[in-house]
Structures are given as structure tokens and as C-alpha cells.
Symmetry: C2
DNA sequence: GATATCCTTATGTATAAACATTACGAGTGG
DNA sequence: CCACTCGTAATGTTTATACATAAGGATATC
């Protein structure tokens, strides 16, 4: 999955899934075509129907199969293309690259949210949240710049945390699990502040990541991360599909 | 939930998963803490252990739980943050936005691959592949520019396809399912060609997506997609996690 | 005290059986 | 010919049971 979206799979079910995948990739079973039903496959693979079911559900989750009750299972006309990103903690990313991690907070204060942020997180415009800006470094060089809004109403313990010292990213990961998240990428030319904090040039193309998370009390945080020029964000594995 | 990586889940298992998720989000069960074992939860929820197992495996897949044989299940110290992107067919994206789709191929010819591409796909440098460049339009305005390399050795039928007419993206989706894929985002300042084909200015920040796919015969295709300035690529749903 | 060994426990996987649910498609009646 | 009904086939979900496997912890050994 991009890896396997779901957890680990069992040997036998796994084997069945691989074999079905192979038949699809090698055009033994073509797109749109109906494949044998669970009972038949169970006989062929000498397994219980439940095991075949597990394998086929896995493949359906990957988007390779379309399954409908009574109608049967068929190879997806256009395999859904899914990719799973794992967003690591910044410090881990930096240290994994063999660099020394450090970070610095450049601003932190309560402030009414601008309209675009309000719209993104679903709060009334002008609501007062904690606003902060910080830069994460690898071996002293800017790695990423984050511009973050925090909502104390969704995470009360947040009031007590000292983000001049603590890393907001890590604090949130450890103390404020979320129920829903949105993630988006875009590109922007570095503005004056971006350029200064990332120590690059005005106009330099920057990869921007926007992330917002919610729990049952409302939005927890929304952040705009600007990566150092040339940075790639990618997947390691991807589920099967088309293209 | 994220699209829940895996397909749909069952009512009862689903309910158990939601309840466990709630207990974690509301700090009833804290990070690192061990939760009751499957047998106990089965009694509490009046379900079979297999059902509890299904629910917990789902949550483990989301990264909210860490499970180990004999050691039991505990709330993940730092919930893995995963986001699933669904890469749609360009035409669908454009049409879904209510625009008229069209595309134009600007170049197509066999050519030896440059070293960086060779390294990315794992082929010897200088190998000859099909190289093509095309622009996809929405209502006549450039939507995205793709620079693609195709490997006939991994998809033989490819030789017969006429990509001056056909949309390579769609042809591949329908005819060349893959087993593995890599996806990465970055940002680049538009070069002269990007600017001309996307009808924008030199230096404009562009969101770049790189995608490479493989089947059992080797790399099928690798493509660099440059999006129209201001374009966002994002997720709709994301699995639970931290931050 | 350090190390090796075994027992026990919690999860991992598979199976058979049963019932729920959906919707295809045939049959019925107008 | 159309609309409606209903039987039935395929998947969806749960359950009970059984055995496999990993690893924590106690015990035994040196």
C-alpha cells in the first residue's frame, strides 16, 4: 500500500491477493471483466470463503476490484490510483537525514484569524486563536518554515504549553490526536518573509503544504509549511492501480 | 476516516473502532497506555473476538494503535499520520470542475533517456524509450503539462497505440495496471518551456508531481506533471492520527 | 549475577456455519 | 409493452472454534 493501507495481511489471504493481482496485471483477467465468485475461488485456492473474502476486500480497497452484492466482483474499469503519505515529525525527518535538528520560534501571540483561515477551518471570522511562526533547521540550515494557528478550545491543555520552548508539531502529535485531517500541496513564489526565514531568494519556488486537523471539539490546528527549495515530499510505496 | 485505507467496514466492527477512537481522542486511554485485550473488549462490546480483532487491526492500520503478540495493544506513542491521495484522470478532474476538456500533444518520439530519469526508474542510462509532452486544457486554458517517458518493454501493446490521438494518461489507466508506484511533489520555477506551454510567466512557482509506475516487466512510465499556477492537490479524508 | 529454557498469554490467521443485505432477472399482471 | 413482485445468487458480516506464533516473565542452570 502505498502501502497497504490497512495493517498487515495474512499469508494465505495475502497469497490469494497477490495471485489475483498478478492475473489482473498480466491481463489474464481484463478490466471490466467479471471474476469467479468467492465460492469458486475458495475451491481453487483451497481456502475458506472468509479468507477469499478478506483478500478480495483488500484488493477492492486498493481500487483494483469493484465488488457489488449479487452482481459479483469485476476488475475495476479504471483502477483507482491511491497514494498514502506518511507525515513524519520534522525532527525525525531531519535526524534521519543525518543532520542535527534545531528549531526557533519567531512569533507567538493571540490574534484574530484572517478570513481565508476562518473559511478553511470552519470558524467564524475574527475568532481569536494562537498564531505562531517557527523555522526548523538541519545542521543550522533552514529546513522548513511553519506558520501555524492553534485553537485552545479544541485542545485545552494547549494553554499551559510553552511553545517558545516546545515544538508545537511534536506537542500536538503527542497530546492532541485528531479525528479528521485535510492535507494539500501547492507551490508559491517566496515572499519577502519566506525568503528571509528560509534564507533564500525572493521569488524562489517553494513547495507549500497546508494541513488542518479537527477533533470532536472543532479545529485543532491549521498550518502552512513552506519547505526549503528543492525539497521533495513523496511516498515510498503505492497500492496497485492504473497509470 | 480515511478512506479508510481498506474498503468498507462492518457495522459492529465499525462501531467498536469508533468507540476506541473516541476513547483515545478524549484521552480516556492515553498515548503509550495499554488497552484491554481482545477477549475483554469482546465481552464489553458483546462481540466475538474476531470482530474486535477486525476493529483493532483497522485502527492499527491507521496508526492509532500499536499491537504486538503477547505484549498486547497500546495507544501509539506518536500516531502515524497518513494521508491518502486519489489521483484522478485529468479529464475527470477538469470535467468535474465544470470545464470543457481538451488536450494537445506537442512532441512524441523515441529517445535515449537522460541519466536522472534512468536513475529514477532503474534502467541503464541511454536506454531508448518513448518520450512525449502534452498539455491538458480546461475551457481552453492550460491545466497541466506532462512530460512523460513510456517503456514499450513493460507494456508491449503500447507500440500500437497512437498517442498523438489518444490520451496517454487514460490509455495507461485502462491498459497497463501497475504493481508498484512512486509519487512525489516538489516545486519549481517555470522555465521557458513551462511558461510557454502553460501560458504563464518565467519564474512562476509551479507545483510539480513526479510519478513512476512499475509492473513485473519493469518500469512502465515516469511522468513529470507541472500544474497550472495556483493549483492545489489535496486529500478529502485522512485517517486519524496526531498533529 | 548472568544466561539459557520453558510456560503462558495476547495477538495472528484460518475455517465452517449462519444469517443479513442487495439487486439481477425472471415471472406476473395490467 | 410496461410496471411490479419476488426468488435467488453473490457479497457482507458476525460467530465459535482451533491452532500458530511471538515474546514477556518465571524458572532453572552455570
Amino acid at each position: 500500500m502505498i502501502d497497504k493501507p490497512a495493517g498487515s495481511t495474512s499469508p494465505k489471504a495475502q497469497h490469494i491477493a497477490s495471485e489475483v493481482r498478478r492475473r489482473i496485471v498480466e491481463h489474464e483477467w481484463r478490466q471490466g471483466e467479471r471474476i469467479p465468485d468467492e465460492a469458486d475461488l475458495a475451491i481453487e485456492f483451497d481456502a475458506a470463503r472468509a479468507t477469499v473474502n478478506k483478500a478480495l476486500q483488500l484488493l477492492a480497497g486498493e481500487g483494483l476490484l469493484d465488488r457489488r452484492r449479487r452482481a459479483g466482483t469485476r476488475v475495476a474499469i479504471d483502477p483507482v490510483r491511491k497514494a498514502t503519505f506518511t507525515i513524519s515529525i520534522v525532527r525525525e525527518q531531519v535526524e534521519q537525514a543525518g543532520m542535527a535538528y534545531s528549531h526557533r520560534v519567531f512569533a507567538q501571540r493571540k490574534s484574530p484569524i484572517p478570513d481565508d483561515i476562518a473559511a478553511r477551518v470552519g470558524l467564524p471570522p475574527g475568532e481569536v486563536l494562537v498564531h505562531m511562526r517557527a523555522v526548523h533547521y538541519g545542521d543550522g540550515l533552514p529546513f522548513q518554515l511553519e506558520d501555524r494557528w492553534l485553537n485552545p478550545r479544541a485542545a485545552p491543555e494547549l494553554e499551559k504549553a510553552d511553545f517558545w520552548q516546545l515544538n508545537a508539531n511534536e506537542w500536538l502529535v503527542r497530546n492532541a490526536p485528531y479525528l479528521r485531517a485535510e492535507l494539500a500541496f501547492s507551490a508559491e513564489n517566496a515572499n519577502r518573509r519566506d525568503a528571509r526565514l528560509l534564507r533564500t531568494q525572493l521569488g524562489q519556488a517553494l513547495l507549500i503544504m497546508h494541513r488542518t486537523t479537527w477533533n470532536d471539539l472543532g479545529p485543532i490546528t491549521t498550518v502552512r509549511v513552506a519547505f526549503q527549495p528543492g525539497h521533495f515530499v513523496g511516498t515510498e510505496k503505492t497500492t496497485a492501480g492504473g497509470d
